[in-house]
């Protein structure tokens, strides 16, 4: 599932701009989709403040709610060597107060207004967000700008919070055999110290090694105004937002920031084949991942083509993997996932779960056959048009969620993609041609960097994740 389809299906709250009747019922569905492609999906406005902060407004008057999302163009991928987990640990410490907001007061104030506040760290970004009743936007902007200027990161809070982060790691990864395996598989393909091969939450030893000084340095270098994108969505007017940004964010002085510097993929995988047995596992899992171009690395045309390829290869019922593996009774599930909207190299990932009684080798051979045939013959025109149609059909549904719009816009801008790309992505996807899909498949699924992994039920003691 692509990032955009994930957003569409995960729609949560409303942030839609009040659009004119967007679809003309007189048009056939295909024509409607084309008509939609000719106008921006979100009608967002963007500008840059004097200190370098980029600001985007995606206005929607549908409900009296506003969402503030502050994205920093730095995530787990920017953790320094030996300090995996730093971006994420800093995200936790940003909730421990700032110059004018005592520790804990931010969340309490938002809760008192009936709002929601949280944050997330991905490989590419760290983002802080609040959803509030629209008249409460100034309050959350004032508080967010205060930690944008000067978080406390109090010394005496570092150790208790480290314990919380270690519990988070145990909960998400160490007590889940599947998560442990996926973590080890990424490290096997990319290397445990490559930015793509390290866990975002960090290796346990490295979480223990992170210091307050590491956090202050990361904040100084990566949280500069020119490395941030503020996205506000909901029932907010441009003039009001400009005034609030001037009041709260503009006073933070510009400072130099460290740009992203992502290493290319390694020449060869650390372990091309990783087989793990785990006594807690009751259901086997096959993974195969390939290093792939993204919209920011390599040929962006290939990135669009790969999104189409992922859908027709493993995007659910009707896809080649589903037909060859699931419908034939070899696998319980079979899927393909590709996210082109990332900083640096992307991953084109295949996964399948064998049905009980199906030998792993048999499933893997069937998967090999699917790939071989696809690379030799290429997809059909019918597969291409169906994939494009299904990926783009629900583009407008993003508007049914207040959080999806700023997430989509902020994550794209924070990796250097233009707003236009977010506004018109269905049109861009429709331009993908059959030769492009065939070529992208051969380039990526051929002999490039890849690894295969098997997680099997077994007697061996579970292995702890850690730098190899």
């Amino acid at each position: 599932m692509t990032r955009r389809t994930a957003l569409r299906t995960a729609a949560a709250l409303p942030a839609a701009l009040a659009m004119p009747a967007i679809a003309d019922p007189a048009l056939a569905p295909d024509r409607q989709a084309e008509a939609l492609a000719e106008r921006p999906l979100f009608g967002a406005l963007a500008w840059t403040e004097a200190n370098g902060l980029r600001v985007v407004l995606a206005e929607s008057r549908r409900v009296p709610v506003a969402a503030q999302y502050l994205f920093y163009a730095a995530g787990g991928g920017e953790d320094p060597p030996g300090r995996s987990g730093l971006a994420h640990f800093l995200e936790h410490m940003m909730f421990k107060g700032s110059r004018n907001v005592p520790p804990g007061a931010f969340s309490l104030a938002v809760a008192r207004e009936g709002g929601q506040d949280n944050a997330f760290t991905s490989r590419d970004v760290t983002a802080y967000h609040q959803h509030v009743e629209a008249s409460r936007l100034p309050l959350v902007m004032r508080m967010e700008a205060d930690r944008f200027a000067a978080p406390l990161i109090p010394e005496d809070q570092v150790e208790p919070e480290r314990a919380v982060v270690l519990e988070e790691r145990r909960q998400r990864t160490d007590s889940n055999p599947r998560a442990r395996f996926v973590e080890a598989f990424d490290a096997a393909l990319w290397g445990p110290q490559h930015w793509r091969g390290r866990p975002i939450i960090g290796w346990e030893e490295e979480i223990r090694a992170i210091t307050r000084e590491d956090m202050l340095a990361f904040f100084e270098q990566r949280y500069a105004p020119a490395n941030a994108v503020l996205v506000v969505a909901g029932d907010v007017r441009e003039a009001e937002l400009r005034r609030l940004v001037e009041q709260f964010y503009a006073p933070v002085p510009a400072r130099p920031h460290r740009a992203r510097d992502r290493a290319p993929p390694p020449a060869a995988p650390l372990e091309p084949r990783l087989v793990r047995e785990d006594p807690l596992v009751r259901e086997a899992l096959l993974l195969r991942s390939f290093a792939a171009p993204s919209l920011t690395w390599g040929d962006p045309d290939q990135a669009w083509a790969l999104e189409v390829l992922a859908h027709l290869l493993g995007g659910g019922p009707g896809s080649r993997m589903h037909a060859a593996l699931v419908e034939t009774g070899l696998a319980t599930t079979a899927a393909c996932s590709y996210h082109g909207e990332v900083a640096g190299a992307a991953t084109f990932a295949l996964s399948a779960t064998p049905r009980p009684g199906v030998a792993p080798d048999r499933l893997e051979a069937a998967l090999d056959a699917v790939l071989e045939r696809l690379l030799q013959e290429g997809p059909t025109a019918a597969e291409l048009s169906r994939a494009v149609r299904q990926i783009t059909a629900g583009a407008v549904l993003t508007l049914d969620s207040i959080g999806a719009v700023p997430r989509l816009i902020g994550s794209a801008l924070a990796i250097g993609l233009p707003l236009e790309l977010v506004e018109f992505w269905p049109r861009r996807l429709r331009e993908v041609t059959l030769p492009q899909v065939t070529e992208a498949g051969r380039a990526v699924l051929g002999n490039g960097l890849h690894a295969t992994g098997w997680l099997l039920p077994g007697p061996a003691a579970p292995q702890r994740g850690g730098p190899a």
Partner: protein, 418 residues
């Protein structure tokens, strides 16, 4: 105060002998419809757990002239999200669609309910998926603890069973049993319907006629009443894991209890979401014992159970449980402070607009209100009812509701010192 002026105009729409609640909003061209019957996993015969869940999944695996792939393509070509699922005590359907595709969504949903194919290969695929999910649940401490909690609390009632079934029960589900489950479940009467988005009452009435008028008359059978929650103390499931998962809880109160909202306030203060609850402060913020802890009212068979969870390093499980019991007892003894009451009321009032902003969620919420027997003006009066709550009333409901001696917990992992 935010949220105090919040209103949600709900219209009642009647068609096909049924009533739907509608929140009409044409701001974006999206329509969501949700419907629900009593039943679901509660109607599965003993030993055939998971039948209703498989039957629900099979409704979108081929219907009428369309095989599974053709049916999926028809949905995805038009970006229609159509789902059916079986809960512990309900069988639920619904879709979200672009307004233009509403006729297609209605056509496919109707086909799914009226003419499900239950093709043998689709049944085997769905069975394999359900069995894999049941096995995967047992791979993690959290999955094991959750399953055991309900089994211990309700040992002789469907509420204590795995609603999705077990590997053993799923293996024995036959096509006639699936047909029988759908025959028990899918009827015209007893349907609760919620709708939201770009649809007029007239269009909704047409959709209801098309979807529900053809269904067989009558209603699904009545459900067995929920027996009292059985306090079971503390159970440990040994599992090789560096962290233990704990699922804890006790009896709650009927959804029609006049002090329902006072109980919501008490639980918000003690164990509600976010960073502000007493448990989150005591367990995460002050002691760094866990990434998160929370509990809430889990409604089943018209009655709420208080259920929550936490996960912590094996060595610190005993300390975490001691803190949990201490906070539980403190709240039972003294209730909230005036400031905590004010904060909780402000949150519950102010958060209302945020809960009504995504069309499928609005439609689901309307159905949930009807399952709980709320009147049409329940939301309208909610802010005033919450504002009228006194510390004394919330303290009284805390004392009546929270019984530390009945607080029961399942611990899965390798806890030290339990």
């Amino acid at each position: 105060m935010s949220g105090r002026g919040f209103t949600l105009p709900i219209q009642e729409v009647r068609a096909a002998g049924l009533t739907a609640w509608l929140v009409e909003d044409h701001a974006i061209p999206v329509v969501a419809l949700s419907w629900s019957w009593r039943g679901g996993a509660a109607l599965d015969p003993e030993g055939q757990e998971g039948t209703a869940g498989m039957a629900a999944a099979l409704l979108t695996e081929g219907a009428g002239p369309l095989g599974a792939v053709a049916f999926a393509d028809a949905l995805r070509d038009a970006a229609i999200g159509l789902t059916f699922s079986a809960g512990r005590d309900s069988f639920d359907g619904g879709f979200r669609t672009l307004a233009d595709a509403l006729p297609e969504a209605v056509r496919l949903a109707r086909l799914a309910m009226a003419e499900p194919r239950l093709d043998e290969d689709a049944v085997e695929r769905v069975r394999a998926r359900a069995m894999a999910a049941a096995r995967r649940t047992l791979e993690t401490p959290r999955g094991q603890a959750g399953r055991a909690f309900w089994a211990h609390a309700f040992p002789a009632h469907p509420a204590g069973r795995q609603s999705g079934g077990t590997e053993e029960s799923l293996a024995g589900v036959t096509i006639p049993a699936l047909r029988a489950a759908l025959d028990r479940q899918i009827h015209r009467e007893g349907l609760l319907i919620g709708a939201a988005g770009a649809i007029t009452p007239a269009r909704l009435a047409e959709a209801m006629e098309a979807l529900f008028a053809p269904l067989p008359p009558g209603a699904p059978p009545a459900l067995p009443p929920l027996p009292p929650f059985r306090p079971f103390g503390q159970e440990v499931i040994g599992l090789a894991s560096p962290q233990s998962a704990v699922v804890f809880g006790q009896d709650g109160l009927p959804v029609r209890d006049p002090e329902w909202e006072a109980a919501q306030v008490a639980l918000r203060v003690l164990a509600g979401g976010g960073f502000t609850s007493r448990l989150m402060q005591a367990v995460r913020e002050r002691r760094g014992l866990a990434y998160g802890i929370g509990a809430g009212l889990s409604v089943l068979f018209g009655h709420a159970v208080i259920a929550g969870s936490v996960a912590t390093e094996n060595a610190r499980v005993a300390e975490t449980l001691a803190v949990l019991r201490e906070e539980w007892a403190l709240m039972a003894a003294n209730g909230p402070s005036e400031a905590e009451l004010a904060d909780a009321v402000a949150f519950l009032t102010g958060s209302m607009p945020l809960q009504f902003s995504d069309s499928r969620r609005i439609a689901d919420t309307l159905v949930a209100m009807r399952q709980n027997g709320r009147p049409l003006d329940w939301l309208e009066g909610r802010a005033a009812r919450l504002a009228a709550l006194t510390r004394g009333r919330v303290a009284a409901v805390s004392a009546r509701l929270l019984r530390p001696e009945t607080l029961s917990a399942v611990v899965a992992g390798q806890p030290v010192g339990l």
